[in-house]
Symmetry: C2
Subunit: 404 residues, 2 copies
């Protein structure tokens, strides 16, 4: 069994890097705060005796040798956060991985296969798109050169930022050599807590579609321009944002739709906006429904462009189909939880995760623990210490099985 206090202590220490009011964390990918967080985690990896490698996109892998050589049995997640982040999202999977290593070190256990703890660059996708960018490069599905050229929302370039914070490493990408992968994560949604479960055996991840719309209208005077003569980029953006809400209702099922980012220009009280930049995040566990939602969204944007006389162009920021995790591993998560007398439920993940990229190259799965009130991407994100411990115990047990 792992040491829950030490796990909570590491989570709290890591949360001091990029700490913000309310107990939360702002550690956007490749920011100064991210560098501080990375430095701390790498120092812990070394203290625990792991051999640390850093690849060309800044993914960090710490390896503990096994009795035999060969592909790695990996626990991983990410330590970047959104700008209003909590201390659990991503961080838990990495800290629990370190806790597993510390526990095995103390017990003097050496596994057959080598074990690894990894954290991947820019999982959140807040500063650079797409999300899960680091793990996508890791598995070889996004070329390194393209990843390094990715622009940040603040105008920087991923490659420059990586070099600036000292995490452009020499390890190659695209040939992971991973035997199997498991990621412990907070649910970030309300289901486990509401229904009284401690462990989620995650069956897969819903499909993700991120679109950026750029709307070009004509700036004009708010007092003198008759309504019918307007080409108002801000109004067109607002229509798309309210349509997204209707769309989620009409598509039904578990469809969600979010306009998280919307920027007007010149953004002045008495000037009709000539430009709007906005994002729409659509998700569904069903690929056909997700495609239907995209189709209707794009058609609506075209209609608004015509009726308001604005130009609307769109760009895909991220598009991932729904992913199913390894059925045998999902079953093992469920069985181990039962063995430990932990109430367990199978469920899909609403959020994207590095595990969905690793699932492209090896058997992969996830373990969820409850998020109080389902709050995430918010400084109030919280998971009770007992649940953290329970999740880490399941992780330890599963890693031991995978590594033998």
């Amino acid at each position: 069994r792992i040491n829950g206090e030490r796990l909570s202590w590491r989570l709290a220490e890591l949360a001091t890097k990029g700490a913000i009011e309310g107990g939360g964390v702002a550690r956007l990918a490749l920011s100064d705060a991210d560098r501080q967080g990375r430095d701390l985690v790498v120092s812990w990896m070394k203290e625990l005796g792991l051999a640390v490698t850093i690849d060309g996109v800044g993914n960090v892998v710490g390896v503990r040798a096994g009795r035999e050589d060969g592909p790695l049995v990996m626990a991983g997640s990410h330590i970047d956060t959104v700008a209003t982040g909590g201390r659990y999202d991503g961080n838990l999977g990495v800290m629990a991985g370190l806790e597993v290593i510390a526990t095995l070190n103390e017990a003097g256990i050496v596994t057959r296969r080598p074990l690894a703890v990894a954290f991947f660059t820019n999982e959140e996708g807040s500063r650079f798109q797409p999300d899960m960018l680091g793990s996508l490069v890791y598995v070889g599905d996004l070329p390194l050169t393209q990843a390094l050229a990715t622009p940040a929302i603040d105008g920087a370039r991923l490659g420059d930022e990586l070099t600036r914070i000292g995490y452009a490493g020499p390890a190659p990408v695209g040939k992971p050599g991973v035997h199997s992968y498991v990621e412990l994560h907070v649910e970030q949604g309300p289901v486990l807590e509401a229904e009284g479960f401690t462990i989620g055996a995650v069956e897969g991840v819903q499909g993700i579609s991120w679109t950026e719309f750029t709307i070009s209208g004509q700036s004009n005077h708010a007092g003198t321009t008759p309504m019918r003569l307007r080409h108002d980029a801000g109004y067109a953006a607002a229509e798309i944002a309210t349509f997204a809400r209707r769309l989620a209702r009409e598509i039904g099922g578990n469809q969600v739709a979010t306009v998280g980012a919307l920027t007007l220009s010149p953004n002045l009280v008495n000037v009709v906006a000539d430009r709007a930049l906005m994002t729409v995040d659509l998700r569904n566990t069903d690929e056909a429904r997700l495609q239907e939602a995209e189709k209707r969204l794009f058609a609506f944007a075209d209609e608004i462009a015509a009726s308001e006389g604005v130009e609307i162009t769109r760009r895909t920021l991220a598009r991932f189909e729904p992913v199913a995790f390894s059925a045998p591993l999902v079953a093992r998560v469920e069985a181990i939880a039962r063995e430990f007398d932990l109430p367990v439920k199978r469920l899909p993940s609403g959020a994207g995760h590095d595990a969905q990229m690793l699932a492209r190259v090896c058997p992969a799965c996830m373990i969820f623990v409850p998020s109080v009130k389902g709050i995430s991407h918010n400084v109030k994100e919280y998971t009770a210490p007992d649940d953290l411990t329970a999740g880490a115990d399941v992780l330890l047990r599963l890693l031991l099985e995978m590594a033998e």
Copy 2:
């Protein structure tokens, strides 16, 4: 008659201060560019022999002595612009005033009453609210201390910015001693050009209502948070923005409604926004209809706050009732235009103007010249040189009448 080429030359010279792509100007009030524009205009005033005074809020008045002492016959406007401004809005009234002075100097004419050319601080209201702030202080209806404490949209304070650019002057405010006031301005709307008129005899200014809404919701995960559990500040803002458009249609008449500024936070693709800051600009020539529009807007915001579970607070940024200009002066504008064989039309102003503040303390009026396609607050703002000249000729003639 005035010298149209010299007038156009001054407009072009002034447009080099804060010049932006497309031939426009960004000279937000009390910015560095505003300082450069002010310095240039003050140097011209001095070259023309005007006695220049600067008051506590940065209004600049250049006086040409008359045969008698006494209250000033004033031509004025503003030289601040919006961030996507043209070179005519405001600037024309000031440059035409200087051109009148130059013409009188050349002709050796001394008027009975002293003549003055003035430009007022922060007429646009883009950087500091309310609009027409300088002239409001000038006529004594906004205390100087309150004006100096006004926050800018960029966080600065008006008093600090005024000192920084060196335009906090010693002249007192609130006792204008103005005999009468006339402001030449581009229409900024489409009416004169569309109907084939060269001169607008402006009967008054429509009522202006600016409200800032602050919406507080709960940041949360865009992928995991079911739609029914959201408290999305961005969605509430978008609903208000689309309602504003419906409201303009439903109130009818010449009601306009504009959401020019809208800022989300944290403004990230996969985070439900916890905060939105937005402005709504409502205008109507009819005060009762304007009040009706306000009432319905505020009621709608309350409804959305309740249904989305967000908190919405509001703050009035500007509120001015419709203003009627001096009937005898409006009649003189019309008569002079006819005398000059210039097609003239009476019309209200859709934009706010310093003249509406001066109208509180003396007979005041405005002369409009056509704006091509009605475009303003846009780099493409344009008025043909002949129309500029025609307007300045009417201004010269009216000032001579007022000063005798």
